[in-house]
Symmetry: C2
Subunit: 480 residues, 2 copies
């Protein structure tokens, strides 16, 4: 992710880089006012929102700062620039049972009665979902389907939706056959069926570290042994380390969030994905690719997936619209490569089929081209939010705080001072009705005690900003 | 189920018994015409449909026969009266892998392209589902729910639905707390979570025999050992035999369809249910009670459930509306007694939550009293169908054929001549586009080779009657 490459991707970044260069070269001097919004819009022929993104970007790099009613100025004292977390290094030390009780503690607190600021989630805000248009699609589904979706549906799920998913997969340059897609009740459900189909209790699987607690819990529920591999905050796992592990232990499967991993936000470069698929083939190990976040990218195009390079059917590609469109509809899917029969059997055994009318509504939404329109808006909103968060963390959090740089998705990973125990940070924050996800929730090893995951899928407003400020203050108070 | 008891339950049976007695005592003589429909309606003050049920009932016992344009007459030669299958007797001999391949063979043939008569299913006909009224409820749900059910819902499922299920449980005299109910994607899904929560691979569980292949498959998917207990076609398992088994083997759980079991149609008498719950307590063994069919009873009230008698929380009571209202919505539930936390965790691990808008639609349907109105009609239609099936089997099937006498649900179990292999019957029937479920699908032991399960949840018409006729002819041809 060099600047050169980014500049091809983002219009606002191109503008920002010009200003950055002027600052670095001294053309714009410390304390000087930088060109106004209006000037930028006029000179570059861009919208006000693009110009604002350029400002936010420069602000997030602590090159400029806003002064009330005056505009933006080159920073007097170039502020701290947030570092990026180091490569994770899962310790040998296993912490037993920590994750379940901690996950319950964090999410049981998110009840309906007491309203908390849910920085612990990793989802788009309800305000960002296209409720009215989805309702329209649901009504169309009701009218079009035989028996309005009330009779029992095909175990593989809506044919119309499978066609739309295959069509949509062109965005990642994968050629999928609708007949080889199975609809499920969300992405985790797809992963669960894949794991059930491919493993037996006691088998060993490989996960990234840190990894969404949902992945750990489903694997534990199936009594699998988990090997956690260190993960680079921007590029994901190191393929050499992966190969070392494949060589020394019999591995039943690998599970990865290749695009905008959760919680780290890393995105495996496309060339690594290609090499990973070659590795799978060499060791004959299947990969469950959790690709739930790929549609919410901040660049100018969707990153590819391992599925793109999968010629032998070893990649079980899982996705859903739960992070991008309709979390409550529970519509996900898997293209299980060569394992279709086994995965479908698991769906039949454990649920027979899934809810057909919401599947059809999503299919109609996609068919009408509404998804792309919605996503464009969602990506923009999410990205601006991310910049606001980086800015706020820069401003409010203790010196030395490191932050991931996700290029998509909804979560930000912070590494705080080593002396901070983020479970204590959680306890103190929840008293102020702010809910965060402590780092310990994302591993079975003794690590990430000083990390947190923040949900930037929250509407940006004074309350959100204030929560981050309070959180930063608590963190400062916890440094020993 | 003595006549005395039945006569308290059914108005039409009371009428039928009077006529039966007149025939047996010779008051009505062989060949004589019995009272006309109109006479019966007038004399007993009943509707024409009740009078017709009495006729069908007598016909199913081969006491009377219809003559075109003439009315009903006492049978000249009292026809064969269908026997009831004997108590099943699971052999020690285990058949490996039979069930999966057979189940796939039977259901893969039910594709959309070729229309088969689906006698192999066990579901109400689409024509019997209240599509328009459910659509109305779905639209109401869309309007009433926050975000129209599109945001992520509570893991336990719709609160409104949980309240309605608790309210509805009064019909079985159980006092349920909505807070202790978990909504799932159908009944099998509920059973799956319960089994996952309560067992480890290698554990032994007890099932009735024969039992719906779905129950066998979910248990096998979780690598459990299955003990099949013999089952009486009318009253279900023998509690002494159950206790013998509990005494001699460590049993992790029992799974039973206590009301209108599938495929046998047996209904455990309420006093047995009470004793069963006492047994559970004595041996501290949980029971997963699959109560999916209980609402579709033919008597004048819902039989009770084991849950009714459960004071210590050992009964995990599972149900759904998939057999009675909306198979495609995938709305089921479990009241898991003392195991709520464990079962909810499994739902969280494997799917997070379920589709909230269809849950809410069902809740609204129940809330408005539409369910009871719909069920009254459904029970009547289903029961009349059942009588038609018994009559047709009596007429078309080989001498000596035995039939179960389900008092609810949608399936009839036939025991044919010992020399008939019903897998061959299946193969020959499918060529004529008639799909049946061979008995082998309902056990892991070497038994039921001469049995079939028939779905009487099909609209009764010439085609249905004709299919049964053809099936009977094929069966006759297979006797050696």
């Amino acid at each position: 992710m060099t600047n050169k490459r980014s500049s091809e991707e983002f219009l606002y970044e191109r503008i920002a880089i010009v200003i950055e260069q002027q600052i670095l070269k001294g053309i714009l001097k410390v304390g000087e006012k930088i060109p106004s919004l209006r000037t930028i819009c006029r000179e570059y022929g861009v919208s006000q929102s693009t110009a604002l993104q350029a400002y936010y970007f420069l602000e997030s790099k602590a090159l400029i700062e806003a002064r009330p009613q005056s505009g933006y100025f080159v920073c007097k004292s170039p502020g701290k620039i947030l570092g990026v977390p180091v490569v994770s290094n899962p310790s040998e030390h296993l912490l037993e049972g920590t994750i379940d009780s901690l996950v319950s503690r964090v999410y049981d607190n998110l009840g309906d009665n007491e309203k908390h600021i849910p920085l612990s989630l990793g989802l788009p805000a309800n305000e960002w979902l296209p409720i009215a248009k989805l309702n329209k699609s649901l009504m169309q589904a009701m009218r079009q389907m035989e028996g309005s979706g009330i009779p029992l549906a095909h175990p593989q799920g809506s044919e119309k939706l499978r066609k739309q998913i295959a069509r949509w997969a062109f965005a990642m340059e994968a050629n999928l056959n609708p007949d080889n897609i199975i609809i499920t009740s969300g992405c985790l459900n797809a992963i669960s069926y894949c794991m059930m189909a491919l493993t037996e209790p006691g088998d060993t699987i490989i996960l990234e570290s840190p990894i969404s607690f949902g992945m750990i819990q489903v694997a534990q529920s199936l009594r699998l042994n988990i090997v956690e591999l260190p993960c680079h905050a921007e590029t994901g796992i190191d393929l050499n380390v992966l190969e070392d592990n494949l060589r020394k232990t019999p591995i039943k499967l690998i599970l990865m969030i290749t695009n905008f991993s959760n919680p780290l936000g890393s995105c495996m470069p496309d060339e690594n994905k290609k090499s990973l698929v070659e590795l799978l083939e060499r060791y004959n190990v299947p990969l469950i690719e959790n690709d739930i976040n790929a549609d919410v990218y901040f660049g100018n195009q969707r990153p590819k997936s391992c599925k793109t390079f999968d010629k032998t059917g070893l990649v079980l590609w899982c996705g859903s619209v739960s992070k991008s469109l309709a979390p409550g509809y529970r519509v996900g899917w898997v293209e299980p490569g060569r394992f279709k029969a086994q995965v479908l059997k698991k769906k039949l055994c454990h649920a027979i089929t899934s809810t057909s009318i919401t599947e059809e509504a999503i299919a109609i939404f996609l068919e009408n081209g509404r998804y792309e329109t919605h996503l464009r808006k969602l990506r923009n909103t999410t990205y601006l939010n991310y910049l606001q968060y980086i800015k706020a963390v820069n401003e409010f959090f203790p010196e030395g705080t490191k932050a991931s740089r996700p290029r998509g998705g909804f979560v930000l990973w912070l590494e705080l001072d080593k002396s901070i125990d983020t479970v204590i940070l959680y306890e103190q924050a929840i008293k102020q009705k702010i809910s965060i996800a402590p780092g310990k929730m994302f591993t079975l090893r003794n690590q990430f005690n000083n990390c947190i995951r923040l949900n930037f899928g929250l509407n940006w407003n004074d309350q959100t900003a204030h929560s981050l400020k309070i959180l930063g203050q608590i963190a400062k108070g916890l440094i020993r």
